[in-house]
Each structure stands twice: as C-alpha cells, then as structure tokens.
C-alpha cells in the first residue's frame, strides 16, 4: 500500500475543492461530528422529504481524507432513499474498517477487492485505502457517522 493509493487524485481533488460545502438553512436533519484526536470538526446537513434525501451538504475543517470523504458522501447520498443512504453508510464503514493485510482471519468479512468491486460504493471505493492506515480510518468515517446520527437522533457524535 503506497501513499499514492491513499492520496489518489480524486481524493486530493475533493479535499481541495469539497463539493456541497455550504450551510443548509432548510435542513431537516443536522448533526456534528468531532474527532478530538486531530480536532477535525464536521457538521452535516440533510433535507429529507418523504423517504428521500433531497439535499446533503456539510461544513467543517479537517484533513484531506475527512474533507474528501464528506464531500463524496454528500454527492453519493443526494437523491437516494433513506434505506439506500443507510446501506451506503454500512457498506462504506465496513469497507474502510476491514483491515486488508494482517494476520487475522477476515475470511468472513469483505475483502479489499470485494469492496473495490462493490458497485454500490462506486467512486467511494477509492477511500477504502485508508484501511491500511489505521490511525486515519476515523478521518474517513467522521462525516458518515455524522450523517447516520443526523438521521437517527440528530445529535453530536465523536469518532473516539
């Protein structure tokens, strides 16, 4: 696993120019995520109508991984049903938290290749490289956890 796999062009691009980086005055669901380890802070806004996420945006500051992940997440869930957003959350979380190498037996869990080929993740799969940088996984899942809690309780979450 090399650095260039972690910092792929698409990640650098989203990190530098995050999409949907804006406040949402008419949001129906809001939650904050905070990573006390590095001080990354993110606020996720959702506008849900019926069972569809009509709009998703975020505000916050942080490292390239957390910014890119938040940016790509907002794109991925916009227009999706709540069930689909939830499914993406679960797939993404599993894909980035499943160690690719290492001595443990992960045979029952999805492998890196599975995740990479997992069409449901689409372009998000480029973020799964963080699984080889255990101390960066929290950066990648921060926005997703915030989104998840916005939908479920609308409260502040930390990734600690």
């Amino acid at each position: 696993m090399s650095l260039s796999e972690l910092y792929q062009e698409v990640i650098l691009d989203h990190g530098k120019n995050p999409r949907n980086l804006r406040e949402m005055p008419d949001a129906t669901h809001v939650a904050e995520g905070y990573n006390p380890l590095c001080g990354d802070q993110i606020k996720v806004f959702l506008r849900v109508a019926g069972d569809v996420v009509e709009d998703a945006s975020f505000l916050g500051r942080g490292c390239a991984i957390s910014q890119a992940s938040a940016s790509m997440m907002t794109q991925a869930i916009k227009g999706q049903t709540l069930a689909k957003a939830e499914e993406l959350f679960e797939n993404f979380r599993d894909a980035v938290t499943t160690q690719a190498d290492g001595g443990c037996d992960h045979s029952s869990e999805p492998t890196f290749e599975d995740a990479f080929q997992d069409e449901s993740l689409g372009v998000l799969s480029c973020l799964t490289g963080v699984r080889n940088y255990p101390n960066r996984i929290k950066c990648a899942v921060l926005a997703w956890h915030a989104m998840h809690s916005a939908l479920h309780e609308g409260s502040k979450v930390t990734t600690e």
Binding site: L3, Y7, L12, C38, G39, G62, I65
Partner: protein, 408 residues
Amino acid sequence: MPTKAPTDLRSQFPALAQEVNGKPLAYLDNASTTQRPAVVLEAMQCFYQHDNANVHRGVHALSQRATDEFDAARSTVAKFIHASNANSVIFTKGCTESINLVAATWGFQNIREGDRVLVSTMEHHANIVPWQVATERAGAVVEPVPIFDDCSLDMEALESMLKKGRAKVVAVKHVCNASGTVNPIGEITKLAHEHGAVVMIDGAQGLAHQAVDVQALDVDFYSIASHKVYGPMGFGALYGKPEHLEGMPPYQTGGGMIRSVSFEETIYAAVPDKFEPGTPNVAGAIGLARALDWVTEVGLDRIQAVEHELGRSCTEQLQDVPGVRIIGTAPGKASIVSFVMEQAHPHDVGTILDSEGVAVRTGQHCCHPLLDRMGVPATTRASISVYNNEEDIDSLMRGVKRVAQLFG
C-alpha cells in the same frame, strides 16, 4: 557547520536503530516521549532480576536492597532539581498525577469561594482541568493569563491580574510542549509571591532541556514527567516546598501512608510516605534516577548546544518552504518546532512524514486554548532531542517537500 551526529549518544538508544516504512527512523516526537538509553532499560531490568522485593515492608535482604535503591532514587531526583531535602520529592505516576495531587489537596485546603486561579493560555490540559475541578468545587474561578502572538506570556497582564487580589494559584508550564516557549518561571514565581499566590510549575518539558534549581527559583510546586527525560513511562514526581507538603491532606489513602490505623483514629505517616500509598513503582524510580544520572553524565550544556543548533537549522529550513508558518516564535524558545502548512492539514502531513520514516506529533498537543488563541485547528510538531542529528532534519524536510508537491 551543521552539528555532526553525536553517534556515540545515538547508539545508546536501541529503539533508534530501526527502519520505518523502509527508511531510517527519524524520531522527532521527543516532546511526546523521549526514547530511553540502554543504561535505563538495564537498570530497571537489573532491579527485577536481582533485587525485586517490596519496599519498606520486609526485613529480608531483597526488601532492604529494594528499599535502599528506592530511597537513593528519591535523593537523585532531589539533587537533580536542587531540592533541599529528598523528602520534598513525591513519586507519582506522572506529571498529570503530580498536578492533580496539588489541585486536590493544596487546592482543597486553600481555595475558597471567590478566589481566583490564574492559568496561562498556553497550558497543557493537565494544568488546566485539575484547576477547573478544584475551583468549581470551591466556588472559585479559573482565569486565563493572555499570551502574545509569538506564544510568550504577557507578564504585564499577569501582574495586573495578580494586583486585583484573591489569586491563590498561578499555574504555568516551564517549557511549552506545543510552541517551545520557555517561561521565566523565576520571575513569575516572584510576582506571584508578592501577591500572595503560590505557583504550580508544570515541568513536563523542563527537566530534559533546562537546568532546574527549585530553591533558587523559589517555586512552590514543580511537576516531573519521567518519560520525557529518558526515563520510564507511567512514572513521575512532584516537588513541593516542605512547608506546603507538611500541611497538605493526603491525596490517596491506604497502606504505607499511615503511622497507625484503628477504627477510632488513623494517623498519617510523614511526608513523603503520606502521599505514596500502596506498593510504589520501584523500577520506575530506579529508571528515572538512572535517566537523570545519564543527563548529568552527558551534560546539560552539551544537550542544549546540540538541540539549539538542530532547532535553529530545522526552523530556518522550514521557513524557506512556501506556505509554512511556524507557531511559537518566542525569544529563547526550546527546540520544539510547531508548524502549519497552507497546502495540507497536519494529519496529512503526519501520514506523509511517516512514510519517510519521520515520527512527529500532529494534532492539538492537549493545548486546545493555545491553538484556539493562535487560530489554528492543529499543528505538526517536530521536537528535538540530544540524539537527533542533521540527517533527521533532512528526512523531515524531504517529507515536508513531498507534502508541498503532493498538495501544492
């Protein structure tokens, strides 16, 4: 001329001789924790292999040896900081516990409703939160002492805050772990005393780099972190003026800290035992004492000269990189170089430096108020020790340039 590698020193640290990600390790995270020289590891192992027994308990030979070594360690620490009396050194599990001890005992006894505790804006959370707890309990307040843009303490502000009266404690660190500022603790202590306050000096970053004479400085309390001065982790000490320690209630209680116990009345042992209930970390004390002896053998002058030269070189080279800003530029600062890069977040910088074998700290360094004051969410920090060399700084710069390239 760049400082040549003090190879003989470097080779005394087994952990430094390794590769990380295929590159030689450049360990520049010394403010988090230093590495330990072989003599410290050996001294601790020797205790467990030959003299291991509980202290102050048995009449058998091993117990006597362990007790002698433990007592000798206390004397070594006391001598190193020029304390008048070995019993003014209390062993703790670290700098954090040392400060908590003072806040919970001296603070409990002396901080009253309406009192004030003046805490510098640059403090580590370990010298903030215990005072928040102590003041909240008493109905007193913690007030931040402002700092300047270069991260030096605003002494005039401190003086005028003291003049307002009812300041019981001034809490300030000797050397700032996030900015490198070296505070004028003698001057601060004098000011505090003129206005009836005691000082809690957080010495976590002090001992490894600065000469400390607690009597000349006249400090009331000085906390020590063993693992930041080449000693073992999970161990530390607190220096307290004998007159304070005598009057303070115990912090924790149990065996070993009592003179007599009955269900009617318990009488506490004398200082330092009063503050050290339970079986102590004897190997920790032996390790710390050996580490301080090692510092004495190497010489603080040599340590300061090497660190100063590398710190200067590191700072100058970083300043030449477009987009880099150094956080903490106080005159006479220690060789702790915190910086931010316009191009990249410290977390990304840290990952890329790691790929070059460079160990630095990234984040907030347990100093949220300081970072808020400086307007940065986090920094990358290279902190230098006597065993570092120009090659380590070269590795750091290679990594920083790679960041600039990747994120530029």
